[in-house]
Subunit: 350 residues, 2 copies
DNA sequence: GCGCGACGGGAAAGCGTTGTCCTCCATGGC
DNA sequence: GCCATGGAGGACAACGCTTTCCCGTCGCGC
């Protein structure tokens, strides 16, 4: 257990005051030397300050700076579950872009609970972050939802910026994901590949992302004159295990003319594949499976998973740029959702 | 692109001062009513303050609190790559535990560059976090390493807490992972399963985690009187693609008597499996593969990946508790690394 | 040679909180 | 009836920093 803790004199961190004294200059000059102030400071003084800062291991107190300046350098990121590759990739994008901008990311997980989401937004607001990015899948119209809106309104009224990832949310900026259109394209592609018997695994009712994807998929089928049997729509949890369970349900219901299962996200699809295999069937051959997101794992399962690719990391970066207002010209393009057909949905000889 | 931004009067956030005025009490009373002060405050006043706070949408400025109190409620977490499931799971654990303790997590990614790591530690120090958790794989003895030590020393001298995840680091607290012992057990288990022809895919030289695991594996083989041919040790990047490339190298070198490949982490193993498959071979049948970590995906690839299980989320939580000094009795137990044999290393009829 | 900007250092007033005193008032003991 | 006691509100000095002012010093134009 490595005892830990250097013997340490436990002195308080050096303050700007200490640096100024050490360098023999005023507080103001020290401050001006160490941050990008507009005021010029005599090169000799500046060197003295820099030396003193180095000598004292000075590191500016960000909290104090935030208080004095009236603005922080923080970005708050809210996701449903950090360990979920979908959110992990988005987070990676946000962090990278933030780093690029010299901002610091604070992260919280809603654990897919809208009460918690509300609570977190509330507490995160205390940091006075420059922007708040909400990637957590929101449910429409539940009790917490109105309060959340209230909270965000207050945040923006105070000069904060909110960016949503996913569906377009009322008055806020958002990086819209083309969930419906992507799923629709996927449906068409599958029909074109010869599939006729469909089922869908989607998240709990009211989960925006899940709804949109399912809706798009149904629309895509409808466009080809195919109706999705409501009995073939299963709504387990929006997770890997949910996908597994949902697929089991489907299998227990009887496979009859079922040819392909659309899972509303890749982790569910992966779970579904495992369920198929555990039932003694071969995914892709006995039952085709398609997902959504194109998480890295999608390539590495067997057979490789057909899916709708979302540039997740790019989405994270863009959400931050959007909130910051630093979107470049080219960035205005909507995020493309692109169908990627792989081995899990082989072309079907019709 | 959803214009964004409520029309907003853009007034500054309500301050405690505003609340006090609204409630008709002093600043001190307002402060005492809104935070857990030891001082009692008249119930009527307290209600007035609460009402005023609610009315004004007051949210205490955490930075100001940090400055005034002299301590922050922040935890800084440093990982190599957020999108990597290994770090994502650890991060999830840290965030969950932090949330439990009412702390806020700020996250940064070193991108596996020790220069950046140093830089990040430096800048993170400015937040005066209560603890700093370093999960980023460190290289031993490079240039930045000494400076990093210096930086951490300063941080601890100022009352901060450092916790490492992985190898035990000199004077700091750490959650040691039994990399060597785990790999050693795995080697023994594989020998016991009938394997004789080994190869290893590990990370760049000097990468602590990779070295320890390789070392353990070699020791395990040695214990069974088997030597690992140095030509059969490949050192690509410590990532999925590294695993893929490394496996290709191995295949190009000729498979001869090669029976099983040990990849120093699961994402590499997954990459290696894909390389095997892309070479027209079947992982598990033609070449067995084992990894390390037991990331969630390990169960879902085909065949399921044999590996050494590390309770990653628990490790994250424990790192935080360790740094905070809130480890319970039972937590003193070292983290167990447990061999999990799955289909990727079928028992070999000898 | 004088006046006037421009320049740049330093004092000091914030920033939004907390915590220490100080004070006032009610209570209780003798 | 008086004084010690203590409980609770309020003023105010921090906390570590930024930024506005103020002011002395130059350099330059006339």
């Amino acid at each position: 257990m490595s005892a830990g803790g250097t013997s340490g004199e436990r002195r308080a961190p050096a303050t700007l005051h200490d640096v100024a004294r050490e360098a023999g200059v005023s507080l103001a000059t020290a401050s001006r030397s160490l941050n990008g102030s507009t005021r010029k400071v005599n090169e000799e003084y500046r060197q003295r300050v820099l030396a003193a800062a180095a000598k004292l291991d000075y590191s500016p107190n960000l909290s104090a700076q935030a208080v004095a300046r009236g603005t922080s350098t923080t970005v708050a990121l809210l996701v449903a579950d950090i360990a979920d590759p979908y959110f992990a990739q988005i987070a990676a994008g946000v962090v990278r872009e933030a780093d690029h901008e010299g901002l610091i990311v604070t992260m919280a997980a809603t654990e897919r609970d809208s009460e918690r989401e509300l609570e977190l937004v509330r507490s995160l607001r205390g940091q006075r972050p420059r922007v708040m990015i909400l990637a957590a899948s929101r449910r429409a119209g539940d009790a917490a939802s109105a309060l959340l809106a209230e909270e965000l309104r207050a945040f923006e009224a105070n000069g904060g910026r909110v960016a949503f990832i996913g569906a377009v949310e009322a008055p806020y900026r958002s990086v819209p994901l083309d969930n419906a259109a992507g799923a629709e394209s996927l449906a068409r592609a599958l029909v074109e590949a010869g599939y006729r018997g469909f089922a869908a695994l989607t998240g709990a009712e009211g989960l925006r992302t899940a709804e949109d994807r399912l809706g798009g998929f149904i629309a895509g089928l409808a466009a080809s004159g195919i109706a999705l049997d409501p009995a073939r729509i299963v709504r387990p949890a929006f997770t890997r295990d949910g996908g597994y369970d949902g697929m089991r349900t489907l299998i227990e219901q009887g496979l009859d003319d079922l040819e392909v299962v659309f899972a509303a996200n890749d982790v569910m699809a992966v779970g579904a594949m495992s369920a198929v295999r555990d039932a003694g069937l071969v995914p892709g051959r006995d039952i085709a499976i398609a997902g959504f997101d194109d998480i890295p794992t999608a390539r590495d399962v067997t057979p490789p998973l057909s899916t709708v690719r979302l540039p997740l990391e790019e989405i994270g970066r863009r959400a931050l740029r959007l909130a910051l207002g630093t979107l470049d010209e080219g960035d205005e393009l909507p995020v493309r959702a692109e169908v990627v057909l792989r081995g899990s949905t082989p072309t079907r000889a019709s």
